[in-house]
């Protein structure tokens, strides 16, 4: 599919920020994805649900460059893209928070926010000796946290290992949402959290959306999904079984589609 075809497909509606068409990914004889398509529109929370082995993780990995699909097309704002590494997706503004919390426990909050994109001091110190602009990064980290409305992280010099689970998740989300990203992908952000911390993270997701940043949310937790999602993409056996909304279907319906008891 070419760029024009992508655009033709959506001339009537708003243009999706992220588009996937017919993604296929196999692992040996196991079919992870069997022709999955997905659209993500600006300012929406799109939840991806599905049973274990339904292809949720594979789908997300293909969207974020962690896996390369065997076939299928990806486009960002109508422009076809190919991701070979997570770095490629990041360059295009797709930031991911992985389930296993990709933060470095021993590093402080600011270092984690800037991990992999550190900034150097201006002038010869930075250019010649490659000295990091630690103060500047701490200041910018604070600014970003304030901008994102994350109030639970006051001190950006605390090592992440000293934070609570919810605060760590906030660090991970902040890193994904900061620095001009276009899409934030959250993989099971509430899986390891208590009730109050989950609510904080869900509020954070709403805040991101309200700031116009679209979010893809992978979750097992139906109440959480129905709480924050605008649309719900249901994976089943490597395919998209249905895309529903919390208004059009109930949680029971969603589970029924997920398990194959009914179709949408």
């Amino acid at each position: 599919m070419t760029a024009t075809e992508f655009q033709l497909a959506d001339t009537a509606v708003r243009q999706p920020i992220l588009q996937a068409r017919n993604l296929v990914k196999t692992f040996g004889r196991v079919v992870g994805l069997d022709g999955v398509s997905l659209d993500l529109y600006p300012g929406e929370v799109l939840a991806v649900i599905g049973d274990n082995g339904a292809g949720k993780s594979t789908l997300i990995k293909c969207l974020t460059g962690a896996e390369v699909p065997d076939s299928g097309e990806l486009a960002i704002s109508g422009q076809p893209v190919h991701f070979k590494r997570p770095q490629d997706a990041r360059v295009h503004g797709i930031e991911t928070v992985y389930q296993n919390l990709a933060v470095s426990p021993a590093l402080d909050v600011a270092s984690n926010l800037f991990l992999g994109r550190e900034e150097r001091l201006p002038g010869p110190l930075g250019k010649l000796f490659r000295v990091l602009d630690t103060k500047g990064m701490r200041r910018k980290a604070k600014e970003e946290l304030t901008r994102l409305g994350i109030s639970t992280l006051q001190d950006v010099t605390v090592p992440v290992e000293n934070l609570s689970g919810g605060q760590r998740q906030a660090v991970a989300v902040a890193r994904a949402a900061a620095f001009g990203s276009k899409v934030v992908v959250l993989d099971e952000p509430t899986a390891a959290l208590g009730v109050r911390e989950s609510n904080q993270v869900l509020q954070l997701v709403r805040d991101l959306r309200d700031r116009g940043l679209p979010v893809i949310l992978i979750s097992h937790n139906m109440p959480h999904v129905f709480d924050v999602a605008d649309r719900i993409h249901i994976q089943r056996l490597g395919k998209c079984a249905a895309t529903i909304t919390p208004q059009s279907h109930s949680m029971t319906d969603a589970v029924a589609i997920m398990t194959g008891a009914t179709t949408a």
């Binding site: 962690a66 997570p86 770095q87 990041r90 991911t96 992985y98 296993n100 919390l101 990709a102 933060v103 470095s104 426990p105 021993a106 590093l107 270092s111 991990l115 992999g116 994109r117 550190e118 150097r120 000796f129 490659r130 000295v131 990091l132 630690t134 109030s151 639970t152 290992e161 000293n162 609570s164 890193r175 109050r196 609510n199 509020q203 709403r206």
Partner: protein, 347 residues
Amino acid sequence: MTQQQTAGPPTGQADLAEEFLDRQTPLSRIRNILHRYPALSPAIVLLVSVIAFGLLNDRFLRVENLSLITQQVAVVGTLAIAQTLIILTAGIDLSVGAVMILSSMVMAQLAVNNGIPAPLAILVGLLVGLGAGALNGFLVTRFRLPPFIVTLGTLNIFIALTLLYSNGATIRGSAMPGMLTWTGSTFPLGPVRISTGVVLMLLLYIAVAFILGKTAWGRHVYAVGDDKEAARLAGIAVNRVLMSVYLAAGAVLAVGAWIQIGRTNAANPNTGVDLNLDSITAVVIGGTSLFGGRGSIWGTLLGALIVGVFRNGLSLAGLDVLYQTLAVGILIILAVSIDQWIRKVKS
């Protein structure tokens, strides 16, 4: 949701209470400080042991003796820099001593037997160190073998290469050009005589401390050792970082080889292999975690000095060398136990 937001500040305070209030016993406060500054506990141990040995024997604190300790520490201290870099990435290098000896034999033999100018011989020795580091790094990153196994293998390979290359013969310093033994020369600094090798070691410490603390590469070394997968997902080229760490370690080891030639005034293919364990000892006593991602290069220098102080102090006290070994063994266990206790800070 509005309800939750209005209830925000009180819950925030409850959070604080849960997380911090139960830690505020004097003991846990000390632990928090030690956790925040990893080089602090070895610094205290060093200070206490220097005072204790000074009280035991009045010869210990004489400047000549203190200068001697620094010279005795120069080689292990240098190898420990390389070891720290690798242990920070959650690896371990059993081959540091062997690489150092191989490099020193190459330097000496090229200069003495092949008549190659000393600067060139040292340069080739540096390349040998880099090559050894490249081999270790290649095996660790490409074949995904555990560093312990890789360096156990290369340890034996480098020992064998050294003996094959040198025919097991020691080259005396008197036969070498002055530049090779230059690291053993001393110069006066006030009342003390400082050896060039010690200065070289300290310069390496300063350089590595700068790189680890102030550059993105340094931060990536910590991140890779802390959580490899997290580092990869953050966009760090993990294998490239690992490879560069092994290369840097190899270069440091070659400098160590030069210092060793000066210190012993010889290039002896049959010594120094046990230095790999001494270097690990210095790193561990210096508070760097064997699990990677935590520690400081200054802690390693302190660790090397602690070992040097213990060996020197005990021998001044007239104790058999076996007791030095015993003391070092106890030190290691103590250091790791204290380290574990400090680590409990993170709940």
